[in-house]
């Protein structure tokens, strides 16, 4: 495994059961978790997974907020939610009017941070082309956000076959033509394709060349992209950076 993805995969336990056919390296647990009919059924996407039965009891106006809250890392979410539902709040406006209630504020605030983190990951989740032509992405987050991410990337990259892997929870999904499948890895993740290394190096080169020396502001960079995200990105891995600089020096460009 080369340096690029060693930081994301090295300490994981994918050792046994190597199979040579890429399709056999993961198997479907549920048949189809979330058929995407692009809203034909008139039902919001977030009502379709794990929380469907809970969300049915939640007033429509706050379902989205409650859904995000349910993805958060708060303990006893269901108890908190039961208490919250007793308050009779049925719209976002009423949530805003009741932020003095600690229960309401907790749900409001957590939902906001989950939503923000989903947005961030939509930008920084990176796919690597692995053997067999799959695009593989791994991440880890204190929130259980693999479905909203799978939904986003399943639409955006609907021409590709995607594997998205939450390393912290060891939860993975396979996404193809808009359908999301629960899968389990048994065996090693197939190695990266040759093209992968090449494009990753081009990306790092680009990443360094767009920065303007006279405006250098690493504080701002770290505020916009906290370290917990940087660690997942190949453009922030230092060894690779040095290698790029050497290449550039050889080319007499710096």
């Amino acid at each position: 495994m080369n340096e690029i993805c060693s930081n994301t995969l090295s300490d994981r336990k994918y050792s046994a059961g190597l199979s040579s056919v890429p399709d056999d390296r993961f198997e479907s647990k549920d048949k189809s978790l979330c058929r995407n009919n692009s809203g034909v059924e008139g039902c919001a996407w977030w009502e379709k997974d794990d929380f469907q039965s809970i969300l049915e009891c939640v007033p429509i106006g706050i379902r989205e907020i409650v859904y995000y809250f349910l993805l958060s890392d708060v303990k006893d979410k269901k108890t908190i939610l039961e208490e919250f539902l007793k308050c009779g709040i049925d719209s976002e406006n009423k949530i805003l009017a009741n932020v003095h209630n600690p229960l309401v504020y907790q749900i409001f605030r957590k939902a906001r941070s989950v939503r923000r983190q989903i947005h961030k990951w939509k930008g920084v989740l990176r796919f690597k082309e692995i053997e067999g032509g799959y695009l593989y992405a791994s991440f880890s987050s204190e929130f259980d956000i693999i479905y909203p991410l799978a939904k986003h990337f399943g639409e955006r990259f609907n021409t590709e076959r995607l594997l998205i892997h939450d390393l912290g929870r060891d939860k993975a999904v396979y996404v193809e033509s808009g359908s999301i499948y629960h899968i389990e890895f048994f065996g090693m993740i197939p190695p990266e394709s040759d093209a992968e290394k090449f494009f990753c190096r081009l990306w790092k080169l680009y990443f360094n060349s767009v920065s303007i020396e006279e405006r250098k502001n690493e504080g701002l960079q770290n505020r916009c992209l906290p370290r917990k995200f940087q660690n997942w990105l190949c453009e922030f891995s230092n060894n690779e950076l040095k290698r790029i600089r050497n290449t550039a020096q050889q080319l007499e460009l710096f």
Partner: protein, 419 residues
């Protein structure tokens, strides 16, 4: 594989992206295009940032030049024809492939394609449009494309670019005719304003007549860029121009770019550092004009031509108009609440929704996103002032705020950008 030798493509990428990095525009918001089965990519309405470079700017598009060859000799530009720099160009196929490969790895939101002018504007634009066509047709790419309109492009070239892009832009570069004449003798200010009008016209015609163009058709509108500090032009002149561009020419964004001395030229001012604070203040003022309902004249004291670097323009206005305050949060209109330092458009709207549905207190305001450290001096709730604030003695506010200079405290001014 199109890219033959790796050192070749590394070098090309380096030269052409370094040549394009002074263009500030990076927005990918404002276009909502759902994914289509069998097509790669979509346009995400709020926009997405994919990384942040060490100068703190977000990276969302592959920002590059088609070629850094240029017939123009603009004093401020790294690619001016007089400069002895290595010249190179992308082949459309090659750049399309690169964009596609970057996109499917989720490195980028799409392509930002600018260029120097090789021979003439139309021939260069043809190459640019070709690149976009290959992306859209061969790769089925439905992600974001921002295309530069080169000065001097014909209607036909403009139309082709609009048909295929999500946003188009032409950079005015300098805010007045004289300044542009001095630094970019081959460009003409009024011609460029006319081009902006032409783009609007062509775009509207296309969108109203042809349904096949509704997929792209530059729905993200136009933007432009102005260099700050390379000429003696004042903030008032710059903001008056921006206001005109927003209100009359329907621009979506005006970008301000602090002048960075790249070339040695007697027409350029000798400065050591780019005027970053001034640039920041202009963005704040720009936000106040677009989202807070401020008029340009309100931002300047009688006779003053430049914004204060010491305080943000909203606070400056508040300190100059203390009789406008305190604002009674339970009764004031949205536009009045928006005048309070520390309250941005999002928290102001939340306040309105919250007070309609219940009882509101100072503690709640903080939870709704108000920066109380700033707002507490300027508001009352049911006639009461914030604990510890002496409403009769606001004359020393200036010295209070001198102590609080962190830009982070001004975050309400960029609430819209941060979402």
């Amino acid at each position: 594989m199109l890219i033959k030798s790796s050192s070749d493509s590394f070098q090309k990428l380096l030269i052409l992206t370094q040549g394009a990095r002074y263009d500030v525009s990076c927005a990918t918001s404002g276009v909502d295009r759902k994914a289509l089965r069998g097509k790669l990519g979509n346009a995400h309405l709020p926009g997405l940032c994919h990384s942040w470079s060490s100068d703190g700017r977000c990276i969302s598009l592959l920002k590059t030049l088609m070629t850094n060859e240029c017939v123009n000799n603009c004093a401020y530009c790294i690619n001016r024809c007089k400069n002895d720099v290595q010249r190179t160009a992308f082949v459309p196929d090659e750049l399309a492939r690169l964009t596609y490969e970057f996109y499917r790895r989720n490195f980028i939101e799409g392509l930002f394609l600018s260029s120097g002018i090789e021979w003439d504007a139309d021939r260069t634009m043809e190459k640019m449009v070709n690149t976009a066509k290959i992306l859209r047709e061969r790769y089925g790419f439905y992600g974001y494309i921002h295309m530069k309109i080169l000065p001097g492009a014909s209607d036909n070239a403009v139309e082709e670019a609009i048909k295929i892009a999500d946003r188009v832009s032409i950079n005015l570069e300098l805010p007045t005719q004289e300044s542009l004449k001095k630094l970019a003798p081959q460009k003409d200010f009024s011609q460029m304003l006319l081009t902006i009008c032409r783009i609007n016209k062509i775009r509207e015609d296309l969108l109203s007549w042809s349904s096949s163009l509704r997929i792209f058709g530059a729905k993200g509108g136009q933007s432009t860029q102005i260099i700050i500090g390379a000429t003696p032009d004042t903030d008032r002149q710059i903001l008056t121009l921006s206001d005109y561009l927003y209100s009359k020419l329907k621009l979506k964004r005006v970008y301000y770019s602090a002048y960075i001395p790249i070339n040695h030229d007697e027409s350029l001012p000798p400065i050591a550092k780019p005027p970053l604070v001034r640039e920041h203040r202009l963005y704040q003022a720009d936000w106040l004009i677009r989202f807070y309902g401020f008029r340009v004249e309100e931002l300047f004291e009688e006779g003053k031509q430049n914004l204060s670097e010491r305080f943000d323009p909203k606070l400056v206005w508040a300190l100059r108009n203390l009789d406008f305050f305190p604002v009674e949060i339970t009764k004031a209109s949205l536009s009045e609440i928006l005048r309070v330092p520390g309250i941005g458009p999002i928290s102001a709207r939340r306040i309105i929704k919250a007070r309609r549905n219940g009882y509101i207190s100072f503690e709640d305001l903080e939870k709704l996103g108000v920066v109380m450290k700033r707002a507490k001096y300027f508001i009352t709730i049911r006639g009461k002032v914030y604990q510890g604030v002496d409403s009769n003695n606001l004359s020393n506010l200036e010295s209070i705020f001198s102590g609080v200079r962190s830009l982070g405290d001004e975050r309400d001014l960029f609430e819209y950008a941060l979402g």
